[in-house]
């Protein structure tokens, strides 16, 4: 093939431009590093543009919106039962937990209360989805600092939990099981005993993770003292969940502002860690998974008998009003601000998702860290793209 020199130059320039997408771009001052939108450490489609001075990050700017699906607009044209299908998919690792705050907000406005049995089963499934969610974090965090094995263990043991969720709801991922006024179905026969064994397996998994990861020298070196968030800063950025408790703020919605779930009935503990670094966030999540096992064990022993559905009208119209209900989801506080005008569809739904606020601290947090720490800090903040972008 005969080409002119200018054609060749153009070709080379095009190839270079192509190659530059995910590597370094030199600018006048220092270098710009582009991570994502397709990068293994970004859990999908987050993009981070970092300005570097040598190995140090001068400024980092997350660019999101690659997974923005317009939930808040879509809820305005969906009827209430349809909305749960949609909000399932916000935090796709702990899907059942997404439905609960929305349903509770609608129940508050309708002045319906789910029967006790439904509330207990809701709490059980809520905690199961917490384990399903955080167990993957435990594996993933290890991957981000260089250990590949734990993620295989996480995927292996997570399947047991998903199986249990599937046996009740019919869906591994998106159960869509919660209804205004109760639940779709009762527990299948023999489920409680089986879940008991699964809890035992998850406890073993936690022990395994602790031995494998937590005591590891490399892991400690990569996370101790890295990405420290003081409690005041964490509060003003609206961090929630384990990120807040990892900074030493003793606050858990399950204990302090519980709505509609039965956490008051069981004896459990909120774990905090004073350090505020990546390690403490991992540690808190690990303890929380164990605590979820404890909660589950107590809950399973005491599920009351009775109906699982309150009487609600066939066609659900929620009376006019406003309600904000937040729950302690695996990722942090997830809340639904529901404005109804007595229609078939919500008038406005503001979704307060945990990861959005948790990630809003990254420009502050990534300033001055080293390049490899970007990855471990991001992993320890633990975000899910659907939860950021909605």
């Amino acid at each position: 093939m005969v080409t002119t020199e200018s054609e060749q130059m153009a070709y080379i320039a095009a190839q270079a431009a192509d190659a530059r997408v995910n590597v370094e771009v030199e600018t006048d001052e220092g270098m710009t590093l582009n991570l994502g939108p397709q990068h293994p450490a970004t859990h999908g489609t987050l993009r981070i543009v970092a300005k570097l001075d040598g190995e140090k990050v001068v400024a980092a700017e997350p660019i999101m919106g690659y997974m923005h699906r317009g939930y808040e607009k879509l809820t305005e044209v969906r009827t209430y039962p349809q909305v749960t299908t949609l909000v399932n998919r916000i935090d796709w690792l702990g899907s059942f937990a997404n439905e609960v705050p929305f349903i509770l907000a609608a129940e508050q406005l309708m002045e319906v209360e789910a029967p006790p049995r439904a509330q207990w089963i809701r709490t059980v499934l809520f905690e199961l989805s917490r384990i399903a969610n955080i167990s993957l974090f435990l594996g993933d965090m290890a991957v981000q600092v260089g250990a590949t094995t734990p993620v295989f263990y996480a995927f292996r043991d997570r399947e047991f939990v998903l199986n249990q969720i599937e046996r009740v709801t019919g869906g591994r991922f998106h159960p869509n099981f919660d209804r205004i006024g109760g639940l779709k179905d009762d527990l299948p026969k023999g489920w409680i005993e089986e879940t008991g064994t699964v809890i035992g397996k998850m406890r073993d998994f936690c022990d395994e993770m602790e031995e494998l990861v937590l005591g590891n020298e490399i892991f400690q070196a990569r996370t101790r003292g890295i990405g420290v968030i003081p409690p005041e800063v964490a509060l003003s950025y609206g961090l929630s969940g384990a990120n807040l408790r990892g900074s030493g703020v003793d606050w858990d919605i399950r204990r302090d502002a519980n709505v509609g779930l039965v956490y008051d009935e069981v004896d459990w503990k909120v774990w905090t860690h004073p350090d505020g670094d990546s390690f403490s966030r991992f540690w808190v999540r690990l303890q929380e998974t164990r605590e979820a096992c404890n909660i589950l064990e107590q809950l399973l022993g005491g599920i009351p008998a009775g109906p699982i559905m309150a009487k609600v009208p066939r066609i659900i119209k929620v009376p006019a009003g406003e309600a904000y209900v937040a729950t302690e989801n695996p990722l942090g506080e997830m809340g639904f601000y529901l404005v109804s005008q007595g229609d078939l569809t919500p008038f406005r739904v503001k979704i307060r998702s945990a990861s959005f606020s948790n990630m809003s601290i990254t420009p502050w947090l990534l300033k001055g860290v080293f390049v490899p720490d970007i990855i471990s800090i991001l992993a320890s903040l633990y975000f899910i793209l659907g939860d950021i972008d909605r």
Binding site: Y237, G238, A257, Y324, G335
Partner: protein
């Protein structure tokens, strides 16, 4: 929609009896106050139950010295206040300083204009038509604490020490919806304000960087405004127009 069937009430009552006695009292009170307040009564008559919220409101009233235009307490569910847009930042400051609301929860806006397209999924047209069906012009109805203009800013802050969340609302002028940024008080407001700017077309003064956060830079329109149409719905009718699901134990 206000009336609740008898049997439902009885059942709810039975469920409540199992719950703790204190919780039961709260539940009944909220039921009463809800019925009494749909036409935005002055707050003091209705609010007799939530002492925590009342105390918080009293503190805010002293701190803001008559700048609270309206307030609402839903017992056990929180506190709503409305301030003028000029006092937006000072209200947040007062909440942070006097009420110890250090936790910045979220910030957003509401477009109170009824959607000119209705809900769009009632449309049964198969073909693409230029204009949607005509709907009756509806009046704007505001939620708790009332309102005067189309856009309302809303922000929730939470006090961990007092365990009370405060919703602060402010009306935005129709002609030029702009407000002061809350970043100096709550650093976390940054992204929330960017989102509100993008979704509603509001402006926040003193905000360092009001770029789009979600949508591509050349996106036209502000999706969460009620007059932003979802064009896909015009192309295709909603497959499930009526959503009725049999409840468990309910046979036809």
């Amino acid at each position: 929609m206000a009336e609740i069937p008898e049997h439902l009430l009885k059942r709810a009552q039975a469920a409540r009896e199992k719950a703790a006695a204190q919780k039961k009292a709260e539940g009944e009170d909220s039921a009463q106050s809800e019925k009494a307040e749909p036409d935005e009564e002055p707050e003091v008559e209705v609010v007799l139950t939530d002492e925590n919220a009342e105390a918080a409101l009293a503190i805010l009233e002293t701190a803001l010295q008559g700048k609270i235009l309206d307030s609402h307490i839903a017992p056990g569910r929180g506190l709503w206040i409305r301030v003028a847009i000029e006092d937006w930042r000072s209200a947040a400051k007062a909440a942070k300083e006097s009420l110890d609301c250090k936790f910045f929860d979220w910030l957003s806006a509401i477009d109170w204009m009824p959607s000119p397209y209705g809900r769009e999924h009632e449309t049964e047209q198969d073909s693409v038509t230029a204009e949607p069906e005509e709907h009756d012009e509806k009046e704007m109805e505001w939620g708790y604490t009332g309102g005067e203009t189309r856009f309302q800013l809303i922000c929730r802050v939470y006090s961990i020490s007092r365990k009370i969340g405060v919703m602060i609302k402010a009306d935005l002028p129709d002609s030029d919806p702009r407000a002061l940024s809350l970043i100096p008080i709550y650093a976390g407001a940054n992204w929330h304000e960017r989102e509100a700017r993008e979704m509603f077309g509001l402006t926040f003064d003193e905000h360092p960087d009001l770029r789009n956060i979600y949508l591509p830079g050349d996106f036209e329109g502000h999706p969460l405004r009620k007059d932003y149409p979802l064009l896909s719905r015009r192309m295709k009718p909603w497959p499930g127009i009526v959503d009725v699901e049999l409840l468990p134990g309910d046979e036809e």
